[in-house]
């Protein structure tokens, strides 16, 4: 079990403008009846969920095509994090470092939520591990922002991509209980 002392306090990191974010009781995901929720049961679900999401966005024009490509990448990274980066043993080492196909363990859950209203896509993935830490979030962003020659083994590149590509981006951590990573993408974005 993770301890507060070892892994830091409950954390919420938010990047973006707050104009379109309605915090509500449950984070930054706007409350809406038409939010789609999907429980992930295994790693093989990933490709079908990405396909479902991109079909929702459609390919009407260049802006939709780019939004679909960004959404596919963001969901890919979010699910990879939840499936392979989040599960860790008590000493913090990854449980599935080989990233082989896997089925979720008993008591483990990954929940995808998304909503597309025609101009904005809101996307969120929750895992039941809560192993990401505040310090790791900031160190991942800092190390990947470096202008030095790129290092293939650099950690946290996926989180960095999310931070750079989402128009709004948030990470909420309840240590040892839940990590929520989410954000929104606008149909017409300058990012």
């Amino acid at each position: 079990m993770l301890t507060h002392e070892k892994h830091g306090p409950a954390t919420m990191v938010f990047a973006g403008t707050s104009d379109n974010a309605s915090p509500g009781l449950d984070g930054l995901f706007p409350d809406s009846l038409d939010t789609v929720e999907r429980l992930v049961t295994c790693s093989a679900d990933k490709s079908a969920l990405i396909e479902e999401l991109t079909v929702q966005i459609g390919m009407h024009d260049e802006a939709h095509a780019l939004l679909g490509q960004k959404a596919a990448l963001m969901l890919d990274e979010m699910l990879e994090n939840a499936l392979y980066a989040a599960p860790r043993s008590g000493d913090g080492s990854p449980l599935f470092p080989e990233r082989k196909p896997r089925i979720l363990q008993e008591g483990e859950s990954i929940l995808l939520r998304y909503r597309f209203d025609g101009t904005q896509l809101v996307l969120e993935v929750r895992d039941s591990w809560g192993t990401l830490t505040q310090s790791r979030v900031f160190s991942y962003l800092a190390v990947n922002t470096s202008e030095e020659e790129p290092d293939p083994e650099r950690a946290g590149r996926g989180l960095f991509f999310m931070w750079r590509l989402f128009d709004q981006f948030y990470v909420r951590i309840y240590p040892g209980r839940e990590t929520v990573v989410g954000g929104s993408l606008l149909l017409t974005s300058d990012r």
Binding site: S47, L66, Q69, K70, A72, L73, D76, E77, E80, R99, N144, E147, E149, P150, D151, P152, E153, R154, R157, G158, F160, F161, R164, L165
Partner: protein, 103 residues
């Protein structure tokens, strides 16, 4: 577009070209090992025209491959056929420090 990453080698006028297709993620590791074993010339062009998505694990594979080709084999690495999103990822991750984009 096929999901699995595949690579086809062709000989073009002045160089070798590796034509990539599909999704570049952790599953593409063997494709990039094949690239490393196959490249023998002084210049190689990687064509991403038929690549649908590259995630962060795929970017790590590309960086590893390009670094080895340029530093160990002294090979000139060039890229072409990047989509808008893949071009953004290459810029963000510093791949253009290792490989020049050509049309």
């Amino acid at each position: 577009m096929a999901a699995e990453c595949t690579v086809t080698f062709v000989r073009e006028a002045q160089h070798e070209a590796a034509l990539l297709s599909g999704i570049i993620d952790i599953q593409a590791e063997s494709s990039f090992e094949a690239v490393m074993n196959r490249v023998s010339g002084s210049t190689v062009v990687f064509d991403f025209s038929n690549v649908s998505r590259i995630n962060s694990m795929g970017i790590a594979l590309i960086l590893r491959c390009f670094k080895r080709l340029s530093s160990e084999r002294k090979c000139v690495v060039q890229v072409r056929g990047l989509s808008q999103i893949n071009s953004m990822l290459f810029k963000m991750s510093g791949i253009f420090m290792l490989a020049q984009e050509v049309r």
